[in-house]
């Protein structure tokens, strides 16, 4: 059954390879392109729907309030997608991600408002600051697993939140601080529609790049860290490197979104970095579906809009909100998108 091949790979130059021809049918199945793969894939179907939604929504949105909601959805979805790389794909929980959002927001706001930095430079500096913090903290913190990692990220978030609320001279303390409007090359970004396109296009970009990462050796390594860290290490995956990488990248995107949020709203308060905000980000990922890019977007959409829809219920708003989350998790433990995807796959040939 085995045939000897000349292997030109340097890693095992003098090693004979083993191989057998798989059944033609299995190979055909492996190579076959089915329309389901196009329609229900994150890369094609999911991206197309998101693209269409971002492009067409302005035709239906009316007034500042609705545009404001759309911008918030875009910002939250961008954070949720990259948090999902960490939580859903690599299986590493972070209960302090809002701290990176807040730190990016405050870093950008302080530099742009108090030190008159150009907006883009302030944004970049905010992102790099958070990258540095995340990188330094990543090694010790990502050695921990499960509940211990949850506790440690929770603690990290609380420390950053505490610093932001107590450094009154720098951050304005619990009252927050106002942020100078974003000026890019002499153009004042103020209009809601401009903000809509900035955040919308960024979301599309982050979505596309995340799918690229997932469907690559890097993405496979990340999922292997989740599936079996031991198998990953023994396959030559530098687990520490990939954990650090995905932690830093997701923190950087959170920081970028925090900076943009600060500019957009013209005001930033410590609540942007508090525990509840961190939990919200995690719930977006879990509700929409772990290890699903589309799920992260759907989760962000629901969690941003649900409180608005429930506003009419006044006192019962948070009760119903909590109940909906509980019911989804009880009946769809994998999250909305993977569960519905599973149903569709069972219905289709």
């Amino acid at each position: 059954m085995s045939d000897h091949k000349v292997d030109n790979n340097a890693l095992a130059a003098d090693n004979p390879t083993v191989s057998a021809r798989p059944p033609a049918e299995a190979l055909r199945e492996l190579r076959r392109w089915r329309w389901q793969d196009l329609v229900f894939s994150a890369r094609y179907g999911g991206f197309f729907v998101l693209l269409a939604a971002v492009l067409l929504a302005p035709l239906f949105l009316e007034g500042l309030y609705e545009f404001d909601l759309a911008i918030l959805v875009f910002i939250n979805a961008s954070v949720a997608i990259t948090l999902n790389l960490l939580v859903g794909y690599a299986g590493q929980i972070s209960l302090g991600h809002a701290a990176f959002f807040g730190l990016g927001g405050y870093g950008t706001a302080i530099l742009a408002t108090r030190h008159d930095w150009p907006a883009l430079a302030a944004l970049l500096a905010g992102v790099l600051l958070v990258a540095l913090v995340a990188f330094v903290i990543a090694r010790p913190i990502l050695r921990l697993k499960g509940h211990y990692l949850a506790m440690a990220t929770l603690g990290l978030g609380m420390i950053i939140y505490l610093i932001i609320t107590t450094e009154t001279g720098l951050t304005g303390g619990p009252d927050g601080m106002s942020v100078a409007p974003m000026e890019v090359f002499g153009y004042l970004v103020f209009d809601e529609l401009v903000w809509y396109w900035i955040t919308g296009i960024l979301l599309l970009l982050i979505y596309w790049l995340s799918v690229n990462v997932i469907e690559s050796p890097v993405g496979r390594a990340l999922r292997a860290v989740h599936g079996s860290e031991i198998a990953a290490i023994n396959s030559g995956v530098n687990v520490t490197h990939y954990k650090t990488l995905v932690f830093v990248v997701s923190a950087m995107v959170a920081a970028l979104m925090g900076g943009l949020f600060a500019f957009y709203s013209g005001f930033i308060t410590p609540t942007s970095s508090d525990f509840m905000h961190s939990i919200e980000f995690v719930v977006m990922v879990v509700l929409g579906g772990m290890a699903s890019v589309v799920g992260a977007v759907v989760g962000a959409l629901l969690l941003t809009l649900l409180p608005q829809f429930l506003a009419a219920m006044a006192d019962y708003k948070w009760l119903v909100y909590g109940l909906i989350l509980m019911l989804v998790m009880i009946f769809m433990p994998k999250g909305l998108v993977p569960t519905v995807h599973g149903w569709i796959r069972r219905w289709l040939p």
Binding site: P22, E215, V218, V237
Partner: protein, 252 residues
């Protein structure tokens, strides 16, 4: 040149000497076996060789290179691959993706090329997929090529681990009790796969406590008992060795 050499290796857990002053040499080619009763230190030995544990004293050499300071993933890069007694399969991935994980070191694992999905990433993954399908067929998993790992039976997953190890194109393949938990038919199939690997020239080190299984396919056997080397030699020599008989059957 030896492919693997273990020199006066010792590992102490508390008061237990799990591996006790063990030395042996594995030459390239063919199937080698490390056997011994349960608790003899076989899996500990594998964990020392792959760098999961740090030895109390002694050293491990791969192709005459001391690997003491290297982490597990760095040792894998030297051409060493292993399977596990208790399965280590990524159940969140498909069967073929598990095998493709084994090809990690042959692919571009850097972040930026993946982020921008450079053509080499797409090409590398496509080639790896085909190659891994061939490996799955080689270990007799042709019908699972498009399956989810979580839906496969135990015996198939054991062979999936072998396919994943082979995907790395290792110089040295360490198999930790590949037959544990398999029924007789599955064991016979596995026997065939391992023998074929040996014939193809892959250096296989097999850990087993079932002597019957290894006798037919091993060219060279090391017998462990309480962490010490009890005997070493060909299958025939081992079968006749009075110490081995005593350890397995009780003193006559």
């Amino acid at each position: 040149m030896s492919i693997l050499r273990v020199e006066s290796l010792t590992k102490v857990f508390g008061g237990l000497r799990a591996i006790d002053d063990l030395s042996f040499t594995i030459h390239p080619g063919a199937v080698h076996s490390v056997i011994g009763p349960n608790g003899a230190g076989k899996t500990t030995l594998f964990n020392l060789i792959t760098g999961v544990y740090k030895p109390t004293s002694g050293r491990v050499l791969i192709e005459d290179r001391d690997v003491s300071g290297l982490a597990t993933h760095q040792r894998a890069a030297l051409g060493m691959s292993r399977t596990f007694q208790n399965l280590q399969i990524c159940m969140n991935m498909t069967a073929i993706e598990n095998v493709m994980l084994g090809r990690h070191l042959h692919l571009d694992g850097r972040f930026l090329p993946s982020l921008f999905r450079l053509p080499r990433i797409v090409r590398g993954d496509a080639e790896a997929r085909e190659r891994c399908a061939e490996l799955m067929e080689y270990v007799g998993l042709g019908k699972y090529i498009n399956a989810e790992a979580s839906g496969m039976p135990y015996g198939a997953l054991k062979r999936l681990e072998i396919a994943r190890s082979l995907a790395a194109e290792p110089k040295l393949l360490l198999l930790d009790e590949p037959a544990a938990g398999l029924n007789t038919t599955e064991t016979a199939e596995l026997d065939g796969v391992i023998a074929r690997l040996g014939d193809a020239g892959v250096t296989v080190v097999l850990v087993e406590h079932d002597m019957k299984l290894v006798m037919n396919i091993s060219e060279h056997i090391v017998v462990l008992n309480y962490g010490k080397k009890l005997a070493e030699g060909t299958a025939d020599e081992i079968r006749r060795n009075p110490d081995v008989i005593a350890a397995y059957l009780g003193a006559a």
